[in-house]
């Protein structure tokens, strides 16, 4: 033996079974963290690649304000080129449209990848974008020719030389595919549903010759983008939007970051639970080896050597387990990336080789393991060498106190409920959990007795012994119980947030979709205003209202915030659709928007901006920055919600033709026939996408379900770690009571009674953990929902998942029974004579 550290390895290999469970727990924790980190990196890379695909090597993009078919003012290109530090500027004309389907079909629930972004590029475009053709050639200027991504071509079933029937305001126009792009760079724009052509061809297809929709700018290398953009805004006026190229898709990145943040929180819980398992096991292991520590101290080992020995064991274990966890984590990450890419319509870029994430996960596991073993190590180091000469373990002199746990719990909860930033929120959540853990020891005795009075009837005699053990071995029982409690509380909390979100989603969709009596008709580009009259004339239609969607810029003292924009017809809109009001009413909104100069905002956006109803909000308009009065705030679920203005401000906000019509029918029986009539009326010309409350709700719920399924998988894995901890504790408990079991067996306890005794102990632990998890889960849910409000921009009304309780507790009891099987069997198989000899 060269050094004292060798003793750590010997201890680890000596108790392979026990440390094997801890190994599995830590490995799962690392897998979860690595899976989340790697998938988060991959998804962020996919978004970055898409943004980069759009922007190419541009430093800034000058684009339109207002609705999708808005155009840049005439002469803007010359003004941009005249700006200082501009090396090159290229104009482009883009519009959103659809490919005519092979057969007329009813399309429900459109996403942006169902549309095709046609991008007409200017002559200098090649300086900005690198088009990597895998086959064919580039398009010729002014001709109806396009190049499209190879994957999009496969989706459309078209090859080089083939034609695509493109829906345009002038009717369906065939365009020839002359080349296929590699699925990288520009091919990643608009989720891969993109077609590149010359600017002249695009303008002709959309019937708007001479219009441009954006100008990409390349600056001199020494120019600061952040400094140049305000100068450009001043020079170009307020009617255009000047965007830093790296801020493209920033709102989408923010949403993705919030989702990844939520997953990271779930993985933090898995790590916390894994760390707890290490702490629990090492606490027991250190207590068992009291005599070894005392002997080492008596032989001249200083306290830090003893402490190091314990921590070294944990570090070795954590490191080895983390390597195993990386393998499982890769599988998790691959699954998660596929799901998130699918839910967010991202073009998957693959996992790659996430060395940084692997490194972070391993370091995290090692640090958490070392920290978790620090306290047991300190306890071992603090042992007086005199205890080595005594027979039996030292008495547990730990005093049980209420106040530290209660203080942490209350402070953590109060901070979390105050809607703090994400990081402080996470710290508050950990404080709440830690407080709850510290409250378990003082609560264990009364609760074990309470539940034990019922449970022990299942196993007369042995049930009493089980309760006695739980109370006597309070510290070990408490920590195990806390482990199970945390996992259960997190599952309940996530369930509560899921249920609350779904319910809020239903309320919002039901209100916006007009209680199942409304049909939303969306066009890929824009409707002719005459379409409204045609829709109103259809049989079964009671009311029609036009809507224009686009983007608006809210000007704040410290910069601008880009938000979605919706312009509605105040007089007709509320008869078809509406909002779930947080502060306001249909009447107030109708009156305010009808007179102009007012807007509605999602409650979360208003809160983030620090604006209250009645206060002004500065918005960049085609005539400069103008103050709008916030008339009302509404609840929102999702990312497509923003400023809502009335038709009097249509031109001011750069809004053009309507791209969505809301249609109200007389009865639910009219929905299907009216849908068919709308399709036959508009189909060949617009290829519209129709949605009703039911289809919108189904689509939204499917997306929510997708995200929560990842959360549940992560928590399920944390649950597995918790059960490993329970099994571990029961095994240790049986081992430490070998002699006692021998005495009980020798005095007539049957094998099945021994098994039942262990089972009762596990079930009481699970029951007490469930009882404590109910309020803790409620508190954590409040924190998670507050986080969803500030992080993801959802207005969610809290709802406790009462329906989940019975199945969750039943599963917990069943798993506890399962965890007791092995230790129970081991205890029951002990021969009395052998057990009595056990030292």
């Amino acid at each position: 033996m060269r050094s004292l550290d060798a003793l750590s390895y010997r201890h680890l290999s000596r108790r392979r079974g026990r440390y094997g469970l801890v190994f599995a727990g830590v490995a799962i924790g690392v897998a979860v963290v690595f899976g989340v980190l790697a998938s988060s990196s991959a998804d962020t890379a996919a978004v970055d690649a898409a943004a980069h695909g759009s922007a190419g090597s541009a430093d800034a993009v000058i684009t339109t304000l207002g609705t999708y078919d808005a155009r840049l003012p005439a002469g803007v290109l010359a003004r941009v080129e005249a700006l200082p530090h501009v090396v090159a500027a290229t104009p482009s004309f883009g519009f959103r449209t659809a490919v005519e389907p092979k057969a007329t079909q009813l399309l429900h629930g459109a996403s942006f990848t169902d549309f095709v972004a046609v991008s007409g590029t200017g002559p200098q475009d090649r300086q900005f974008h690198d088009y990597a053709l895998v086959s064919g050639r580039m398009y010729r200027p002014g001709v109806n020719e396009v190049v499209i991504p190879a994957s999009y071509a496969r989706r459309l079933g078209v090859g080089v030389g083939g034609t695509i029937p493109l829906v345009t305001p002038l009717g369906v126009r065939p365009v020839t595919v002359t080349g296929l792009l590699a699925d990288s760079g520009p091919a990643l724009s608009n989720g891969g549903s993109v077609a590149y052509t010359s600017m002249a061809a695009a303008q002709a297809l959309d019937g708007r010759p001479g219009d441009i929709t954006s100008v990409e700018v390349k600056l001199t290398p020494d120019t600061s983008r952040t400094a140049w953009i305000p100068q450009a805004r001043r020079a170009l006026g307020d009617s255009v939007s000047v965007i830093n190229a790296s801020d493209l898709a920033s709102d989408f990145k923010g949403f993705l970051a919030a989702i990844n943040g939520a997953f990271l929180l779930a993985s933090a819980i898995a790590v916390f639970v894994g760390g707890f398992l290490v702490f629990l096991t090492f606490s027991v292991s250190v207590a068992e080896r009291t005599r070894v520590w005392g002997t080492l101290r008596a032989l001249g080992a200083v306290p830090r050597q003893v402490r190091r020995l314990v921590v070294a064991e944990a570090v070795v274990l954590g490191f080895a387990a983390s390597l195993a966890g990386l393998v499982f984590g890769c599988v998790l990450a691959a699954g998660s990336v596929r799901l998130v890419d699918h839910l967010l319509y991202l073009r998957p870029t693959g996992l790659g080789l996430p060395f940084k994430d692997a490194f972070i996960s391993v370091i995290l596991a090692v640090v958490v393991s070392a920290l978790a073993a620090w306290l047991p190590g300190r306890r071992a180091a603090a042992l007086s060498p005199v205890v080595a000469m005594r027979d039996g373990p030292p008495p547990d002199g730990t005093r049980v106190r209420w106040w530290p746990g209660l203080t942490l719990l209350v402070v953590g909860f109060v901070v979390a409920a105050a809607r703090p930033p994400q990081l402080i929120g996470a710290v508050a959540a950990i404080m709440t959990l830690a407080g709850a853990v510290l409250l378990v020891p003082p609560l264990l005795r009364p609760m074990a007795r309470f539940f034990g009075s019922t449970i022990r009837r299942l196993a007369p005699g042995t049930g009493d012994i089980a309760v006695m053990h739980l109370v006597k071995e309070r510290s070990r029982s408490s920590y195990t119980l806390a482990l199970v409690m945390i996992v259960l509380a997190m599952i309940i909390a996530v369930g509560a947030s899921n249920q609350s979100l779904n319910r809020s989603l239903d309320q919002v969709i039901d209100r916006q979709a007009g209680s199942g009596l409304a049909i939303q008709v969306s066009a890929a580009q824009a409707f002719d205003p005459a379409v409204g009259k045609a829709l109103a004339a259809l049989p079964g239609v009671r009311q029609v209202t036009a809507m224009e969607f686009g983007r608006a810029e809210i000007v704040r003292p410290r910069g601008t915030t880009s938000v979605p924009l919706q312009v509605i017809e105040p007089q007709s809109f509320f008869a078809v659709s509406g909002y779930v009001w947080v502060n306001g009413s249909d009447a107030v909104a109708r009156a305010a928007l009808a007179t102009g100069g007012s807007i509605l905002l999602p409650d979360t956006t208003a809160q983030n901006l620090g604006v209250k109803v009645g206060q002004p909000v500065s918005i960049r308009t085609t005539q400069g920055v103008r103050p709008f009065t916030l008339a009302a705030t509404y609840a929102s679920v999702g990312t497509g919600y923003g400023a809502v203005a009335g038709t009097p401000d249509l031109a001011l906000l750069g809004a053009g033709r309507p791209n969505v019509y809301g249609v109200r029918v007389g009865s639910t029986a009219d929905v299907k026939p009216v849908e068919a009539r709308i399709l036959s009326e508009l189909g060949p010309r617009y290829q519209p996408f129709l949605s009703t409350g039911a289809s919108a709700a189904a689509q939204a719920h499917s997306q929510v379900r997708g995200f929560y399924s990842i959360g549940y998988v992560l928590l399920g894995l944390a649950g597995v770690i918790g059960m490993l901890g329970l099994a571990n504790t029961l095994i240790v408990s049986v081992l430490s009571r070998t002699r006692e079991i021998g005495i009980l067996r020798s005095t007539g306890l049957l094998r099945r009674q021994v098994r039942r005794m262990v089972l009762v102990e596990a079930e009481i632990l699970a029951l007490v953990a469930s009882a404590l998890a109910l309020p803790l889960g409620a508190m954590l849910a409040a924190g998670i929902i507050a986080g969803q409000r500030s992080g993801m921009g959802f207005s969610v009304n809290y709802q406790y998942p009462w329906g989940m309780l019975v199945p969750v507790i039943a599963v917990c009891l069943a798993l506890a029974g399962l965890a007791s099987l092995l230790p129970g069997r081991r205890a029951a198989r002990l021969e009395p004579v052998a057990a009595l000899r056990f030292d």
Binding site: M1, R2, S3, L4, L7, R10, H11, S13, R14, R291, V292, G294, T295, L296, R297, A298, L299, G300, A301, V302, P303, Q305, S384, P385, V386, A388, M389, D391
Partner: protein
């Protein structure tokens, strides 16, 4: 020239424990001196403070009053780390329950103090071989404690204590967990260590037969010194008393004393009155 300064000295040692609201005095003003090469047995009934005294002498615990001097250095003036380092270098301890580390082999257990001190193996290899030879465990060096008998485990513990070449070897009931014959073997080993190595030994025991191997016996009663006697002298007096009534027993006592002095004791005898006496023979270790 022989050493004359005491290796170990206790001056007015006292120790109390608080058990709930009750203050229990375990040691009360103990004075003792242990000369170099002496073998002192500390005897007394349970709770008389024997083990506590041993803990204080070995620097494992601090006295509430009084002073312990090891080679003239006061232990109470030292920090916990300093006492630990001193213990590492100068004190060997043998316990009733062996206290070997179960996951280590005999050899690793014995050299554990050197490993703790961070010594290189080549620096202590020779010493390790010698001490394993001395205790008769050279053939068992790669075994783990669980593979050894109780006596062998205690030999390993003694080897570990001797390995550091301590100024004083402290033993707390070293035969308390062993059968009669094995206990005698262990005591013989102590005697050998004293005779061959000049090892200073302080042994706590409540077994008078064990104490018979010591030069001197310190009797403790309720935390105070109840007496101090030279056991050999007492045995000679006992032999003289038996000479007339039971001459053969008196001769056996004298013969055993000679064997003890020569370090060649092969017999343990009971020195009680003949009616209660019982002769038992044990084989001396190789």
């Amino acid at each position: 020239m022989a050493e004359t300064t005491p290796v170990l000295e206790g001056r007015g040692l006292s120790k109390t424990y608080q058990v709930g609201t009750i203050t229990q005095t375990v040691l009360d003003g103990i004075d003792l001196t242990v000369s170099p090469g002496a073998f002192l047995a500390v005897m007394g009934p349970s709770g008389s403070g024997k083990s506590t005294l041993l803990h204080l002498l070995g620097g494992l615990d601090r006295p509430d009053g009084g002073e312990v001097l090891l080679d003239g250095k006061a232990l109470s003036a030292m920090s916990d780390d300093e006492r630990t380092l001193l213990r590492r270098r100068a004190v060997g301890i043998v316990y009733q329950f062996f206290n070997l580390v179960p996951v280590l082999t005999v050899e690793e257990n014995v050299c554990l103090p050197a490993v703790i001190a961070g010594e290189k193996e080549r620096a202590y290899r020779q010493r390790l071989d010698t001490v394993l030879e001395l205790v008769g465990l050279a053939a068992h060096r790669d075994k783990q404690p669980a593979q050894l008998s109780g006596g062998q485990q205690q030999r390993a513990a003694i080897a570990r204590a001797l390995f550091v070449e301590p100024r004083v070897l402290l033993a707390d009931e070293p035969t308390g967990n062993l059968d009669f014959n094995t206990g005698a073997e262990i005591l013989h080993l102590f005697s050998e260590a004293q005779r061959l190595l000049g090892q200073t030994i302080v042994m706590v025991t409540h077994d008078p037969r064990g104490a018979g191997w010591a030069d001197e016996v310190l009797l403790l009663r309720d935390g105070r010194i109840g007496g101090r006697l030279d056991l050999r002298q007492k045995l000679r007096a006992q032999a003289a008393k038996l000479d007339r009534s039971h001459p053969s027993r008196a001769k056996a006592v004298l013969r055993w004393l000679e064997q003890l002095d020569s370090g060649d004791a092969a017999t343990v005898i009971d020195v009680r009155e003949p009616a209660a006496s019982k002769r038992r023979t044990v084989k001396a270790p190789a």
